[in-house]
């Protein structure tokens, strides 16, 4: 399967909003690869945990602009 990347842009939102957006994205995608953009350390940590709790693997966290690009993946 090719890497179809869904992106969730949670910048500008404070917790728990980025977590809710991530969980909604996960529900919709079910599996595959997803990127979440956040702009606080709290959101970075919480989004990573939210993904982990749903059985997704945090592949990469890259600093980007004033925040982070978090890449998560779940194999089908």
């Amino acid at each position: 399967m090719s890497d179809i990347v869904n992106t969730v842009d949670a910048r500008g939102f404070s917790c728990p909003q980025p977590v809710i957006m991530t969980l909604n994205g996960i529900k919709k995608a079910n599996k595959g690869k997803m990127e979440i953009l956040v702009d606080t350390d709290t959101a970075k940590e919480n989004v990573s945990r939210a993904a982990g709790a749903q059985g997704w693997v945090v592949e990469d966290i890259q600093p980007e602009d004033e925040g982070y690009r978090i890449t998560i993946r779940k194999e089908g």
């Binding site: 917790c15 728990p16 809710i20 709290t42 940590e45 945990r49 709790a53």
Partner: protein
């Protein structure tokens, strides 16, 4: 800084309230606290805000007498009934605390806030601070932790009605019974657990008392759902901020689940009292707290003479 021999607890220390001696028998306790809504129901919010504001007086070993409302309210956008309900909730709680509402002040503000300034009294030689903990003391906590994380879950609409009910009642519970349980016993130090969490307020006690504080992680009472929501990423920013702020004075043993550290640094609204009591007094205090049915009456750790100004979780 102003100097006045009658100022017994002031700005120079990080304690719960100011204490000012009026006579050889009476000292005034003054405190102020207000915040944005933590629950949806306005009456409950009023109750919680009042319990939270009164708590600082109880934490000093005092008796609250009078209170004044502080209100920020978006009068153009929000129904007046909401405000009335908040104030009624506050009033109900003041009554339970035998405290009289004497006035207040409100301003128009786009963001709703409510709280109270509470005035109480205490004997000028018998008030409790966070500075008296002694090596060998045991530490007792009177409410379980987790309200910050569960309030975040509530905001995310992920908390069930029953759990919401339980944390609401927990936050609206006065620290009055816990304060009464301490009366007449030799208590070395006391503080209430609020925005800095057990970690931050424990460290304040460690620094002010120049002692080390050791907390047995497994003994700390935690609201049942907290771990689950913490592992799901519903941790408030304040928890991470508290950990960062305290990191240099914090020591965590490998055996402690890192999730528990998030809970220990979780900002509490209207949290319980953290009491430092001589070891031989601890059983009587626990017995009294249990009799009064405080939400928790747990011995969670001890005070040590080594590592002053540090907190250790083991």
């Amino acid at each position: 800084m102003q100097k006045d021999p009658n100022l017994l607890v002031g700005l120079d220390v990080s304690d719960d309230a100011g204490v000012y001696r009026l006579t050889d028998e009476i000292a005034l306790i003054q405190t102020l606290d207000f915040f944005t809504p933590i629950v949806d129901d306005p009456f409950d919010f009023g109750r919680i805000a009042a319990a939270n504001s009164l708590s600082d007086v109880y934490a000093m070993g005092g008796r609250p007498l009078t209170a004044m409302n502080i209100v920020c309210f978006p009068i153009k956008e929000m129904d007046n009934k909401v405000l009335r309900s908040i104030l009624e909730g506050g009033l109900e709680t003041l009554k339970r605390a035998d405290t009289i509402l004497v006035g207040g002040h409100s301003v128009e503000d786009p963001e709703l806030k409510y709280g109270l300034s509470v005035t109480g009294i205490v004997h000028p030689q018998k008030f409790l601070t966070n500075a008296g903990a002694r090596p060998g003391d045991l530490l007792i906590l009177t409410k379980p932790l987790g309200t910050g994380i569960l309030a975040t879950a509530l905001k995310a609409d992920m908390l069930e009605g029953d759990a919401t009910r339980r944390i609401t009642e927990l936050m609206a519970t006065l620290n009055k019974d816990a304060a009464q349980a301490m009366e007449g016993l030799k208590i070395n130090a006391c503080t209430d657990i609020t925005g800095f969490g057990l970690l931050g307020h424990g460290l304040e006690m460690a620094s002010a008392s120049n002692v080390g504080i050791r907390i047995h992680a497994e003994k700390v009472p935690v609201i049942p759902e907290t771990i689950e929501f913490a592992s799901m990423g519903l941790v408030p920013a304040g928890s991470y901020t508290n950990q960062k702020f305290c990191s240099k004075q914090l020591q965590v043993d490998d055996t402690v689940d890192p999730l528990l550290i998030d809970i220990f640094s979780d900002p509490q609204t209207s949290g319980g009292l953290l009491i430092s009591v001589p070891k031989d007094i601890a059983p009587s205090l626990v017995e009294r707290l249990t009799e009064k049915k405080t939400p928790a009456a747990s011995i969670i750790g001890e005070v040590s003479g080594s590592n002053p100004g540090m907190i250790q979780f083991y």
